[in-house]
């Protein structure tokens, strides 16, 4: 039961993208169509799973002074392996994703989960947490990519859904959707909707709001 809880909590309540606002760089860059977004999701989940499990296994023997370096080394190695596998098994998608696979190293979700969760929890719980965070990231990524591909190119996974004017259909594609800023807009609106629906996800202000007025005012 706790396995399921660790798995689902990051998807619904602590979503890495919409609640923690992490991993946005790649969420903007690879979401112009669904296929690269799917492959990116799988890659990030695989790296997360590896790093969380490895860090959790080593949590009792890892010296605190070199903890971050060790975590980064493990993450970087996993990213290289994933990148090489993509180049071998999905070369076309790998050319679309270009540097963004390598940049998984700097994806705050991965190091964030290693530091805040895997260092303090069992291997099984850490694996669940990794898959959960991977799913939460994937959910947003694929949703944004589906919207952008549908309205930007009239297709989903390369298959025609809205017939284009150029091909004798009725839909005029919104090219803006294919540029990175629209990824920002969609994620922004998405966060707004989620927080309007679940106000408990709105962050409390870190400092009391500043009062403006005369210094002598009470």
């Amino acid at each position: 039961m706790t396995f399921l809880k660790h798995l689902m909590h990051p998807v619904l309540h602590e979503n890495p993208v919409t609640v923690q606002i992490l991993g946005l760089c790649s969420a903007l860059a690879v979401t112009s169509s669904v296929k690269p977004a799917l492959i990116m999701s799988v890659s990030v989940t695989a790296v997360l799973l590896f790093s969380n499990v490895a860090v959790s296994m080593m949590r009792h023997i890892m010296p605190g002074s070199i903890r971050l370096i060790l975590e980064t080394t493990l993450i970087a190695s996993a990213v290289i392996v994933v990148d090489e596998m993509l180049k071998a098994f999905a070369p076309e998608v790998s050319q679309v994703l270009t540097v963004f696979v390598g940049l998984i190293v700097t994806n705050c979700i991965v190091l964030g989960r290693a530091e805040t969760f895997a260092l303090h929890n069992t291997v099984v719980a850490s694996a669940a947490d990794a898959i959960g965070n991977g799913l939460g990231y994937s959910l947003i990524l694929v949703f944004v990519a589906a919207l952008r591909e549908l309205f930007g190119a009239g297709t989903l996974l390369g298959m025609s859904v809205l017939p284009l004017l150029d091909d004798g259909g009725w839909y005029r594609p919104n090219e803006m959707m294919l540029y990175a800023p629209s990824g920002f807009f969609i994620i922004g609106v998405l966060i707004w909707i989620i927080r309007a629906w679940r106000p408990e996800q709105v962050e409390r202000p870190e400092y009391p709001p500043r009062q403006f007025g005369y210094r002598d005012d009470p």
Binding site: M58, I61, M62, P63, G64, S65, I66, I69, L70, T73, L74, A76, S77, I80, V81, E84, M85, K87, A88, F89, P91, T98, V99
Partner: protein, 239 residues
């Protein structure tokens, strides 16, 4: 076992993690390399076939291999300006030498022939872009001077900016431009200006000017080396 924060313990664990991680990466690279080079080879052949036949539609891998084997291969000796036919011509490749930085003596060129007549000559080009070496193929019409098609199949230019040198719409603007002037000097270049006013100038890509200018420069550099052989080809001394 020494204490958790001792120097011995720290060093031991650092070395152990480094060893395990490097083993992991090495094994992955070693195991996956053959698959990756197979793909690289297919992509090279796809570029050559695209330059030789304008096959813009997505060809299956088998169709690419077949179309590639249908091309005639000549191995050109750059110093002498002569060419020869070899049994293993289709397997010959000078890119490994280029990658290693060794001077290249021989390059493969591909002839697309219809009914025994050469309709296109495909020659390899490479040179420095903005950050990386750009590799590609240029196809000439039968006059051995007019550009029929250009493909850049491998580069490490900026994603989203410099990689627009692979944009089919821009590559199509190369068609019909000429490389050599009346004196036989390779004058082709990519520069800013009105399209169509100069047969040797291709308009650059705004926003990617450094990379696109480099493609013009590298094509002219290579074709300066190819000139002796191409002149013999034009005179009919090479078949």
């Amino acid at each position: 076992m020494p204490a958790r924060e001792s120097i011995t313990r720290t060093l031991t664990i650092a070395v152990a993690v480094a060893l395990v991680c490097s083993a992991l990466v090495s094994v992955a690279v070693y195991v996956l390399r053959p698959l990756q080079s197979a793909y690289t080879l297919i992509e090279r052949n796809r570029a050559i076939v695209a330059a030789a036949t304008d096959a813009t539609t997505e060809l299956s891998e088998a169709a690419i291999v077949q179309a590639f084997l249908d091309l005639d291969v000549r191995i050109v000796n750059l110093a002498e300006g002569t060419s020869s036919v070899r049994d293993s011509g289709h397997a010959f490749d000078h890119w490994p030498l280029v990658d290693a930085g060794t001077p290249v003596q021989e390059v493969p060129v591909y002839l697309h022939r219809e009914n025994g007549v050469t309709v296109r000559v495909v020659l390899p080009v490479h040179g420095r872009g903005m950050w990386s070496t750009i590799y590609g193929y240029v196809a000439l019409e039968a006059d051995a001077n007019t550009i029929a098609a250009v493909v850049f199949h491998r580069h490490g230019e900026t994603p989203g900016i410099g990689d627009r040198i692979q944009d089919p719409a821009w590559l199509a603007t190369w068609r019909g431009h000429r490389i050599y002037d009346a004196e036989g000097v390779a004058r082709l270049r990519v520069a800013k200006g009105e399209e169509g006013s100069d047969p040797f100038r291709i308009d650059l890509i705004s926003g990617a000017s450094v990379t696109s200018e480099a493609t013009g420069r590298l094509v002219s550099d290579r074709f300066t080396e190819y000139r002796p052989w191409l002149e013999r080809l034009r005179e009919g001394a090479e078949q």
